[in-house]
Symmetry: C2
Subunit: 596 residues, 2 copies
């Protein structure tokens, strides 16, 4: 049985749920069609199985090590990355102008899902390179793109993003790395960066660090941050590799999970300064960085979903194979034991994982399609996609991080004691997935972004657009008798979420912004559940339509079953959350620190 | 700041909440008083700090290893265990007849909490020995106690419990290890055991394995299981160590957490059979084992609570030290950053941990006091304690395992990226704690035990006794104005839980036992939340009474604050669970396996 991902599930998401082929009708994506997509997906699945998955456990047990001179990584990682590059995958979503295949981000998302699920540690290097490359594509000069982006698209250079510093993580406005302007127009950078994934290794010809720093005399806080290209090796005029830049590894972080992706403390300017090249205008660095934040955060949610899904598939296989006990109705101890999937509690644990993992995956794929529409759709589609992405991004990042982790926790439970050992990968998925609530904006930051920025944005336009989409889905669902229950439940949930949002906004005027935002994380969870319920209903509608035309198929029946589970077992949890949120309770805000 | 446990908290539980001194009035415990308890607790705290905590990280990174001949464990473990034994702690709760101090199990529970929190891996060896010793004390013959229990109480022998086999974990009735009777009255055991903690090492003179096996010709299933003493080394008539018994280590399990406690696959009878001695009557083995199950399961819940509490204390210290960002009301990026405990979301995460960890700890201590009453109280107290332990044990085992783990997950979040590294212990607590839902009866087994056995037991007497206790607490709470809200909320929750239980029982008659038990795990969570809310209100009442007499103190104010948090933020979650449970939904029971 497949245990990375299931190709029929991915096909359902891409072709049935999200009409990937429809994107080929947009001029920007007109050069490819389903035959191209399918060929790529086939090659991706093969590389994931043959090159990524086999060394995942070994990589976890043998994390990158620094001997004081260089970082050592087991050779299978480079072999896997070479296979990825050789298949042309590094350029999948980049524009043809820079050597890319100019394919939809939706397809890129499916590609990433396969590699994240097969071996998240190894997949980190290419994911970071694509993200850094996207930033260059969007904001760098043509000369910079020629020099740095092209070799990234070719897979010769890898990329990183360097934001955090030891004293400044969430509080990015407080970074201290400084960039001194030079007469030749370049800069010299001095400072320390922390948590930089992929920033030191020997697996690529060069590493292009995209670094946030402050030019002396800039405004304080976030308004005075600029973005620089700081390559590990300087690049000569002819594109050949030049001298080592003054950026050095100070040490590695040793993590609970995600051990395969080297994570670094970097020193800039221990000698005479690290050479850096300004991207765009001074002091606009954070804005550039945030222009890519949607896709970076979709990427985080996606990896959480992919880890959840592969954990689920491992648990499903185990539950069908492992025998233990008998049906409750069978009191004879001499009958054979039954596969544990026959026990209701195990089925519940499997359905719960399926609802979390596949709900999260569908949400991330949906967001990726919105990103394609925002990029290449007509103006009306762009506007709508922008609004939806604005409101959904914190949820796309956080909901899978929360419930994907929960799914991995449950996968261990299905395995019992075996799942708690390193003989099976489910404990690794669990350790890996714990990172996703932390990086690229913590859970708390996402809550503040959603409730503090996105909900009030443009007079509430994004959330109204979202609710409009949900109403369309409810309307469609009412045409199918067995879905009326779901439409009713979704309507109730949407009304409750709306009332809660309005009540909170109204009370905020008297009680102030701190009280309004005190439980923003709970609001994030609550609205996330409503969104995922809607995503499940949309999937169920597509599945039902497919079955009406093509007859029963396992994927479609499974989607409808998981949809039912989500509406009955999960969505009602929002009622208690809404009651709490509506009260603008200040128990936490007012907590006495001295008695905690 | 203290980071293992806080002695004031433990003192609050023992003396204020649970009246440990009152137990000294029972004849069985009359030989000790508070001065003895305090002296022991002081020595425990010191050993935990000086001998247990310092090597916890090293032990995690250097787990026990088997070279094919013997198991190697870092020497600090034996040094710590020696300190434990030298302080006389191994005998704390054993009867004076066998060399013990005959102290209340409640005190033993506080001792265990300190060592579990300081270093769970190392504490496993003594915890298992105490559990095995208790079983011998209860069911072994006098001669067996002299030969095996005395040296355990002295700390010369360690103990294990060997139930599971590779093919039979939860389904213990299916074990295959057989015990062939010999002419001399002993037995020879043949078979394989799995997941046996502490079963092979060189740190004690002998290891006494208590092994479940079947005597040929016994009835099938659980009714044909007997219990045997199978020492690692045979013991000569004079008590000296004899020949090596035919029980051999087949291999070690390599776990995600709890790495310090060696966990073994054992072969019995590779040569001519492992010598075993029957405890009590044939075929009564499971009954003997289960007579100790209450205390074993309290022990699991306690370790989950202790890991949660120490994680909370680490997070609390970090949140006071680490600066990041500014208050929402401060828009000036040039003011100094504030400690993260100033942020509402961090306070919420701390209160949530406190409510989970200290709620779980209080629940386990309460159960330990019930165990003392069951053992040594007057007949009426014994009867009541028995009923309460019957209904509470599955909750005492599972609720801390669920919400203690959640607390550790949140502790990592408070630390952010730092918490995800092995530089801080919170990731280790999280890995350790994941075991507690699995061993000594999985979460699913606990749900079936609660809803299938304990709720219907004696016509519902245990749950009625529990509700009676809760009503007393509500009545007391109504006398304090600020607690009326909690009494109202608890009353609503108790009524809802009661209605739900009755509705489920009623529908079970039509829909059958499988439907009744399909969501037993959710029932377990639901009733657990009601119980912990009640435990919080009881603690708050004690704290309030203390403050009325002695003025404000930090521990009492903290308890009342956490009680408020639990009632407002956590307890309302049961409403959705009760609605689902009352419907006896069969979505999971009827799930189509072919489309999962």
């Amino acid at each position: 049985m497949p245990d990375i991902l299931r190709r029929e599930d991915i096909a359902f998401l891409l072709y049935d749920f999200l009409d990937l082929e429809g994107l080929s009708e947009l001029p920007h994506f007109a050069d490819a069609d389903r035959s191209v997509y399918d060929a790529i997906l086939e090659s991706v699945e093969k590389i994931a199985e043959d090159r990524y998955q086999p060394h995942a456990q070994k990589l976890d047990a043998n994390e990158p090590a620094f001997d004081g001179e260089r970082v050592h990584i087991i050779p299978e990682v480079k072999q896997a990355l070479d296979a990825y590059v050789d298949a042309g995958l590094m350029g999948a979503s980049f524009d043809a102008d820079y050597g890319g295949l100019q394919l939809p981000y939706l397809l890129q998302t499916a590609i990433s899902a396969w590699f994240s699920a097969a071996n998240w540690g190894t997949s980190g290097y290419t994911g970071l390179t694509v993200a850094a490359g996207n930033l260059l594509a969007e904001h760098a000069s043509d000369a910079q793109k020629d020099r740095y982006l092209r070799p990234m698209v070719e897979g010769r250079y890898f990329g990183t993003m360097a934001l955090s510093e030891p004293h400044a993580g969430s509080s990015v406005g407080d970074i201290r790395t400084r960039a001194e302007p030079q007469e030749d127009g370049s800069y010299r950078l001095f400072g320390n960066k922390m948590w930089i994934s992929g920033a030191d290794h020997e697996m690529s010809e060069n590493i292009i660090n995209l670094v946030l720093a402050k030019i002396p005399g800039s405004p304080p806080g976030v308004k005075g941050i600029s973005l620089f290209i700081v390559p590990r090796y300087l690049v000569n005029e002819d594109g050949s590799r030049g001298a080592r830049n003054d950026v050095r590894l100070a040490g590695l972080n040793h993590k609970m999970g995600c051990r395969g992706t080297v994570n670094c403390v970097l020193n800039f300017g221990d000698k005479d300064g690290a050479v850096g090249y300004l991207i765009g205008a001074p002091n606009a660095g954070l804005q550039y960085m945030f222009s890519m934040m949607n896709e970076m955060r979709i990427g985080v949610g996606l990896s959480a979903a992919a880890l959840a899904e592969t954990g689920y598939l491992h648990a499903l296989t185990y539950a069908k194979d492992r025998t233990q006990g008998r049906k409750l109705t069978d009191r004879d101890p001499q009958t054979p034991m039954v596969p544990i999937i026959e026990h209701a509690d195990v089925r519940r644990m499997l359905l719960q994982q399926k609802a979390y993992a596949e709900g999260a995956m569908a949400l991330c794929f949906y967001a990726a399609r919105l990103a394609d529409e925002k990029r290449a759709g007509d103006p009306a589609a762009q506007e709508k996609a922008t609004a939806l992405l604005d409101i959904l991004t914190p949820i796309v990042k956080s909901w899978p991080s929360e419930f994907g982790l929960r799914a991995n926790e449950i996968a261990i439970q299905v395995f019992g004691g075996a799942g708690y050992t390193r003989d099976y990968p489910v404990e690794r998925f669990y350790r890996d997935n714990r990172l996703n609530h932390i990086h690229e904006g913590t859970r708390g930051i996402q809550g503040l972004d959603l409730l503090g920025r996105k909900v009030p944005m443009n007079g509430g336009a994004p959330i109204r657009t979202l609710i409009g989409e949900m109403q369309t889905t409810m309307h469609e669902a009412r045409a199918i008798p067995e879905f009326v229950e779901f439409a009713d439940r979704l309507e109730k949930a949407v009304n409750l979420a709306t009332e809660t949002t309005l009540t909170m906004g109204g009370k905020a005027e008297q009680l102030g912004q701190e009280a309004y935002l005190a439980d923003a994380t709970i609001y994030l969870d609550m609205l996330g559940h409503v969104v995922v319920a809607w995503i499940w209903l949309r999937q169920a509608l597509v599945a039902s339509g497919k079955q009406a035309h093509e007859g029963d198929d396992a994927v479609s029946s499974g989607k409808i079953m998981a949809c039912r589970y989500f509406f009955r077992y999960e969505l009602p949890a929002i009622e208690a959350q809404c009651a709490l949120l509506s009260s603008l309770d200040t128990t936490c805000l007012d907590a006495r620190v001295d008695v905690l």
